[in-house]
Amino acid sequence: MSGQTDVRMDGSAEVRTDRQATPGSGGHRRERRPTQETFDSYYGLPVLNEPPWTEHDIAGYLFLGGLAGASSTLAAAAELTGRPRLARAAKVGALCALGGSLYALIHDLGRPERFVNMLRVFKVTSPMSVGTWLLTAYGPQAGCAAATDLAGRFPRLGRAATVGAALTGPAVATYTAALICDTAVPAWHEGFREMPFLFAGSAAAAAGGLGMLAAPPEEAGPARRVAVLGAGAECVAAIRMERRLGPLAEPLKRSRLLRAGEALVLAGALAGLAAGRRSRIASMAAGAALLAGSACTRFGIFRAGMESANDPKYTVQPQRRRQRELS
């Protein structure tokens, strides 16, 4: 596209390069990206409006919600197989992560005092609505499970809450994938087939990491194995997603956070498996690496989506390719 105004009263049409404003010098809303690609855009501006979500709230919630949900499932498995210290660590961890999730979700609202308006309706077309109701079902059970465990009272109620939280937890951990994929953000939307598995794996890795960090090694066997399974699932899902997305995977492939996340969860999972049984310190270090890796992955996915929304290339080119394939 040419941005050259060269209409003059004498009718000549030479380009006067010395009088052109630098595009972007007066921009006030968003950074404009000059592109060398052969596609048209309106001054290189994004087609989409950027999600108004703050990174530490929403990417943080993706991590904490996954950690909470998978920890509740791990807690029930630990309790039912006679590992009370791992169960307690996972229950308390789930409750803390849930608290952080709720804080982040409400804090990110434009009008936090109106958060109860989410409970006016139930809409299956809105993953945020479904997620609100999932959290409403899951939250009290996770809270009750942790409270009865710590207090040592009402064991039957505690058991019921533990099992209930374990059954709803995985939905809390994976619905967030539908939440971000059900948008026009290209890298999120087009990755919707792999994203829930990536999130489930990342959540399992984080919950395993928390178990290794907080429970004694002799009880943390399930945590170590869950971490290995989660780390493997996360990496396989990420590789498949990047392959299937083609050119749209660029922001994912460029992401150092995603690479760091994969390296940390794999290292943490393998270190836990190799040395976590013998050394408490090694177990804790591996657990910390898994938690950090899971967080890196969620922040990486969040940022890659933002990048894909802010470049018109990722909106226009896939739509053009789809049109060409159909015609």
Binding site: M1, G27, S41, P52, S126, M128, A173, A200, R225
Partner: protein
């Protein structure tokens, strides 16, 4: 009253921005900066919470019909187009709104109820056109209402009312579609082969737009997506994938715990 809409005929837009001003005035839309952008005569940049009509200006080194204003032959044309919320038949913003704040009116338009919105911002990335935004002041989502308050009074929206060339036409959507088809033939016969309609087809990715356009170039030249699809079309599949992943997580934790029960 049936479904109403806008037909914006960009071939007769003169870039006066009266629509932007009338919209701001009538709807009390806050100021969001009037700065020099270097993008031709555009100083509102794009649609947002505080810009509900946006006039795009595109300067091209291409001739356009018989528009030379007596300065000799020109290989230059100036495209102007007033963009607005498309009031989609299948509206993603409305689908994903978790509070029910966004709703479909009796005129077939899509409107935000300010007293219900809690500013979650989900509608913003859901919109495939980058129309709706979250207001910094007040924190609520905001966009074109097609002057819902005027429609109830039998008045046309402020932008259409003020448009001096009738580039913005308001009316019954079916009638506008017929009118647009005739206008397209006319413009093409005049020699502007690049003219095309955008958003008129009820079979497109958003089920047809309540506000559609006659454009003189590819949609992306004006900052419009060439083939937008409402994101919720894939939502059933998303739920299936998320459900399978949740079950896999449950099964994975159970398998790794119970099958190693004896070995610890």
């Amino acid at each position: 009253m049936g479904r109403v809409g806008f037909f914006t005929d960009t071939s007769i837009c003169i870039g006066c921005k009266a629509c932007e001003v009338a919209c701001k005035e009538w709807n009390a839309v806050p100021d969001d900066g009037l700065t020099f952008t270097g993008m031709s005569y555009d100083n509102t940049v794009s649609l947002s919470a505080d810009t509900w009509r946006h006039v795009a200006f595109v300067e091209q080194r291409r001739p356009l019909g018989h528009q030379e204003p007596g300065v000799g032959d020109m290989d230059f044309r100036w495209l102007m187009a007033s963009d607005v919320c498309k009031h989609c038949t299948e509206a993603a913003c409305l689908d994903v709104c978790p509070t029910g704040s966004l709703f479909r009116t009796e005129y077939g338009t899509v409107v935000v109820q300010e007293d219900i919105c809690n500013g979650c911002g989900y509608c913003v990335p859901a919109c495939p056109f980058g129309v709706i935004g979250k207001r910094e002041s007040g924190g609520l989502a905001a966009k074109c209402t097609m002057c819902y308050d005027r429609l109830g009074d039998g008045q046309e929206p402020a932008c259409a009312k003020t448009c001096p060339t009738d580039s913005i036409q308001f009316g019954d959507l079916d009638e506008l579609r017929e009118r647009a088809a005739l206008r397209l033939d006319q413009v093409r016969e005049e020699g502007i082969g690049s003219a095309r309609l955008y958003g008129h087809d009820p079979d497109d990715g958003v089920g047809g737009m309540g506000a559609f356009f006659l454009l003189l170039d590819e949609p992306e030249v004006y900052g419009l997506p060439p083939d937008p699809v409402v994101t919720t079309r894939d939502l059933p599949s998303m739920w299936r994938h998320a459900g399978v992943a949740a079950l896999a997580l449950l099964a994975g934790v159970a398998a790794t715990t119970f099958s190693w029960r004896r070995r610890g």
